[in-house]
Symmetry: C2
Subunit: 321 residues, 2 copies
């Protein structure tokens, strides 16, 4: 039977592997758990950037050039809000605004955030199970020399320029995992971690105690795809953030941030030098070209990653049999 | 000293006289009390059609062709909401959406609706005092053969087609007048009622008990401009509604709907035949060309109406002196 796959993914980087999987894999065997700790209210509307990036990518509505937002966007609402004296550093397009208005309305009606995310994804034609790690409040906060910032303040308003001194996930200890996310990890044959920022995209998902526990105890083979290529990130501040968190800025740092949660790690062919040290830490390692720009690259990385994970899933089954 | 003028006005028709007054009169001597009973929530956003029409008209941002909404509008957000499965019969433009988002955010923060209306008007460059009759919930409901409808359902969705059997203003008896609206009526030298729909634009303002009492007891001269031209309305269902409410569909019906609240009535030159009967009811009557399409017509109607009201205001002062 086709193995059940569950992917943990952040925004832009995570969406690439998600798209690759969606292109080659039966949707009913695929679940994606996204990151909600980047969510923030703007103009009284609930914006969920990572979930929207996943949704818009999988719906093939994403602005391919910038990697987020909808294609062919205009910004008339934002101009109107600016005229009314509002701060408009968070770029929110007009079609995108419909998503935020809709999400906010449903939240005010008391509908679970994960049910809303699913409804939006379905309305836009996404057939994969898109799950939230929690329906409870969970907020990434970043301490810089300017003090504590909400994630979008750091990421968008300050353009990741201030040095990060500390990261915390407000609400994490109280946050209950959604039953759907727990089930998706527990019943999966393979759990993949996307090449997203380990510190601010994947860590907040893992900060939900139930999610971490499920990942520690699942019988699934657990494989991460490293976001580093030649020791650096393609985009975003993950490399600098790893250093700031006291991890080595290399695949050893990526692996260290997932300690106890991984069976295997996919690293880029340019980082082959890390292999021996990773294997010494009891990790199975595969090197491949991990840069995903074109659709074929996304599909290939997905395919090779599944094949890698599936190899030692079968080995394990044989040992157990 | 320049008389203080307070105008009671609905949406499209009311905005025309409001614009005429704004064009010829010092803004600090002018207050406008608008209608909030047409307000309705759409997509979780608070929409206030009559207040927005007044604001956009006075800010010279109105779509002159349709008489409401902002000029040069697009409807990207609405298209997005439609894609998400929402009902989109209420046409809300993208720039207009900014107003509704802003208003809703401030309402959720607990700011008084009238303070919000003033803030929006100021942000768009309106210098006239724009007031709300009440900050409390007040909702026009229209009974038709389809049952009770919210006003916008009747007006926009059903295009005023169902016959109106009854109109009620939910919340009216409990609604407290805003101190600003009360003061504007009490301290005015002239109170004008715009050529708006008496049944669903002006009546809900007067349905707030404090407003009606203030208008009954003010020392101001009170003059209405009839919305009828040749016994019919220029636009909208006011004529049919007068009949449905049991009033004659003529200026006698308009006058009857304002019984006890008027000293004078401006009627169109085409309706001169009504004059004798109106005067027999102790009303001073002036006939003029009341059609207001171009800016000059709006200013002229405003000017002649003020002159008419001011004549018998002065007469009254002389009698009292």
């Amino acid at each position: 039977m086709t193995p059940r796959i569950t992917l943990l993914a952040g925004g832009v980087g995570g969406a690439k592997l998600a798209e690759g999987l969606a292109a080659i894999y039966p949707p009913e065997r695929l679940s994606i758990i996204g990151n909600v700790a980047d969510d923030q209210e703007f103009h009284g509307l609930w914006v969920s950037p990572d979930i929207d990036t996943l949704t818009y990518s999988l719906a093939n509505l994403i602005d391919r050039k910038q990697g987020w937002g909808l294609t062919g966007e205009s910004h008339r609402v934002l101009a109107g809000l600016e005229r009314l004296g509002c701060e408009t550093w968070m770029s929110l397009g007009d079609q995108d605004m419909a998503t935020h208005i809709f999400r906010t309305q449903l939240r005010h009606q008391g509908i679970r955030p994960s049910a809303i995310a699913q409804k939006i994804a379905e309305s836009l034609g996404v057939t994969i199970n898109l799950l939230l790690p929690t329906d409870d409040p969970l907020q990434t906060r970043v301490r810089t020399e300017q003090g504590w910032l909400a994630f979008q303040e750091y990421f968008v308003r300050e353009r990741c320029l201030p040095e990060v001194q500390e990261v915390r996930f407000e609400g994490a200890t109280e946050a209950r995992a959604t039953p759907e996310a727990l089930a998706a990890i527990k019943t999966a044959d393979i759990v993949l971690i996307a090449p997203s920022n380990p510190v601010v995209s994947i860590a907040p998902i893992l900060a939900v105690p139930g999610i971490r526990r499920a990942l520690e105890t699942t019988r699934a083979v657990r494989v991460a795809v490293s976001p580093l290529i030649g020791g650096r990130t393609v985009k975003g501040p993950a490399d600098r953030m790893l250093s700031a968190m006291g991890y080595p800025c290399s695949n050893l740092g990526v692996a260290a941030s997932y300690t106890g949660l991984l069976d295997g790690l996919v690293i880029d062919q340019d980082d082959g030098a890390d292999r021996a040290e990773l294997e010494a830490k009891d990790l199975r390692v595969m090197t491949m070209a991990t840069l995903m720009t074109r659709a074929e690259e996304k599909a290939r990385v997905a395919e090779e990653t599944i094949a890698f994970a599936d190899t030692f899933r079968r080995e394990r089954e044989e040992v157990e049999a």
